[in-house]
């Protein structure tokens, strides 16, 4: 078993009295990990700690075998890291190629020919090679997001940290992105924070659910889905006993919670499992 890429022990972070993360234990290896959680749960804070934007206030953090709190180690980590922030903008006037080229220069791609090849490689990966000379401000929201993804893929990095990479992407682009990330996950550690449970289901073997700054679940996707078996059922009208229910495309209602006797069961999805986990009282949160 190779050494873990990331190890967090008891990591915590607070801002102005609010606890963003508390007592987080996490170990990451090669592969793709999905990070699920509502807004304000601490996903972005956790990703920022992994990406060396912030330091943890408590506990220990080791990334790629180094301590990011030490100046020289931080730079060494950053040489092997790719990061797509939740909100990334572009200084005016850059073309798609120009911005990725700028980031490649900052990432120490000093040889012009090698840099050119690398910039083309990542732009092709995100299907922007045809739009390389367009000004970023003339691109659509999804295309702009892909420029950000392209710069994160430069390297390629050993640790790829992506905060909501699918924002603004249409379904075809999301499928294309899943392919890119699956490929990256073969040789690197990829951490993807997202609201989209179907992206996690399609892409990740492992999922970490975070809520209120704490990890509520950490394990295989199929294990999380298995916990929802027997707790999802269909009906003709919303079941008052359900934790939550909603109308599906077929006109019937999908209910989550404790199923009454004789209820028609439905096969649970990751989204069902996630909603059930969030609906459960906090002391039920368990790491697998």
């Amino acid at each position: 078993m190779t050494a873990p890429t990331v190890v967090l022990r008891g990591a915590g972070k607070s801002y102005r009295g609010t606890t963003a993360l508390a007592d987080v234990d996490l170990e990451l290896h090669r592969g793709v990990v999905g990070l699920l959680g509502p807004n304000g749960a601490g996903k972005t804070t956790l990703l920022r700690i992994l990406a060396t934007v912030l330091g943890a206030d408590t506990g220990s953090v080791r990334i790629l075998g180094r301590d990011p709190a030490e100046g020289a180690d931080r730079t060494a980590i950053r040489r092997r890291l790719g990061y797509l922030p939740q909100e990334l903008g572009y200084p005016g006037g850059f073309t798609a190629y120009g911005f990725v080229n700028y980031m490649a220069v900052l990432k120490e791609w000093d040889d012009a020919d090698a840099r050119r090849a690398e910039v083309r490689r990542v732009l092709e990966h995100v299907s922007l090679d045809g739009k390389a000379t367009k000004r970023i401000r003339a691109l659509s929201g999804g295309q702009r997001r892909r420029v950000g993804l392209a710069q994160a893929l430069l390297g390629p990095p050993e640790l790829l940290v992506l905060d909501e990479p699918t924002t603004g992407l249409d379904p075809e682009q999301r499928v294309s992105l899943r392919r890119v990330l699956a490929e990256a996950g073969r040789d690197s550690t990829v951490v993807v924070a997202t609201h989209q449970t179907e992206d996690v289901a399609a892409l990740c073997e492992r999922v970490v659910v975070i809520d209120d700054g704490r990890i509520r679940f950490d394990g295989a996707v199929r294990e999380m889905v298995a916990r929802a078996v027997g707790r999802v059922w269909l009906s003709h009208s919303p079941d008052p006993q359900a934790l939550t229910s909603w109308r599906t495309g077929t006109g019937r209602y999908r209910n989550l919670g404790t199923a009454p006797a004789g209820a028609e069961p439905a096969e649970p999805s990751l989204e069902d499992a996630y909603l059930l986990l969030r609906g459960a009282p906090h002391d039920e949160g368990v790491a697998a």
Partner: protein
């Protein structure tokens, strides 16, 4: 366009023509025939190797896609500045555009107003002079003004280097401009340089405090404080009290304290996460 002529160019002549070694008479003859003969056009296609064409295409693409270095980048390159440093400085100009325009307007006003009204210009000049470099520095980096800040922060390129380079660029352009403006304003000549000490102190405060806060927040607070001080000194009858006597000692203390604090915040085992 094709021809049903029975004669076609033989392989040797065709190959020589493709290679450019056929004499002028043969070349003209082959060219005129190939232009009309589909069969010989096909034969040419098998003789021309694809690599040079692919290379030409890649070369064209390289010229089209690679962004042309800005005037600033080219000038800096001539002085031996590295590509990374030049690009970091060039990217800042997009952030500073509003500051440059504002500077010209404000300085123009500082010169024109006293000349037109016939009054002394030191109050207005002192109010704006230190704030121009402060605003320039505060608007050249940080999450509030640079939309790519987080991505740049986690690149191996040192944020500290970026901050210091951009500060140097702002100061090297704004300080001479403000000093020259000061020489044009009707006021005692020494005021044209006396503003430098408070400006130095304020810039040091912006840099140091940006290890805790966003630089434009710090710049705004300093600007408001300075304008209030100028208004207070003017109400007391003598705006020059801000750049003479005990005020000088205050600025020196601020400058030294901020410089030491800055050194502490960026060096050592655990430097500030915002600057390193």
């Amino acid at each position: 366009m094709s021809t049903t002529s029975a004669w076609h160019v033989d392989d040797d002549a065709l190959r020589a023509w493709v290679d450019g070694t056929a004499g002028p008479v043969v070349s003209i003859s082959v060219e005129q025939h190939v232009a009309r003969c589909a069969r010989c056009q096909g034969a040419v296609a098998t003789l021309v190797p694809p690599e040079p064409l692919a290379g030409a295409w890649a070369g064209t693409l390289a010229v089209v896609e690679t962004p042309h270095p800005s005037l600033l980048e080219r000038s800096l390159g001539r002085f031996g500045v590295s590509t990374a440093d030049a690009m970091v400085l060039s990217a800042a100009t997009a952030l500073r555009a509003a500051w440059l325009v504002g500077t010209i307007v404000v300085l123009g006003f500082a010169v024109a107003a006293p000349l037109l009204t016939g009054s002394d210009g030191e109050q207005l000049f002192l109010a704006v002079a230190p704030l121009i470099p402060v605003a320039g520095v505060a608007l050249s980096y940080g999450p509030g003004v640079d939309p790519s800040y987080e991505a740049v922060l986690v690149s191996p390129y040192a944020m500290l280097r970026l901050v210091l380079l951009r500060t140097a660029l702002v100061l090297s352009t704004s300080v001479p401009l403000v000093v020259v403006t000061g020489l044009l304003v009707p006021m005692p000549t020494f005021v044209a340089v006396a503003w430098l000490l408070p400006a130095a102190g304020f810039v040091a405060v912006v840099l140091t405090a940006s290890s805790w806060f966003e630089p434009e927040q710090v710049g705004t607070a300093l600007a408001l404080g300075w304008l209030a001080a100028v208004a207070w000194a003017a109400r007391g009858g003598d705006p020059l009290v801000l750049v003479t006597g005990p005020a000088v000692a205050v600025y020196l203390t601020v400058l030294v304290t901020a410089a030491v604090a800055f050194a502490v915040r960026v060096s050592g085992r655990t430097p500030s996460w915002r600057l390193r």
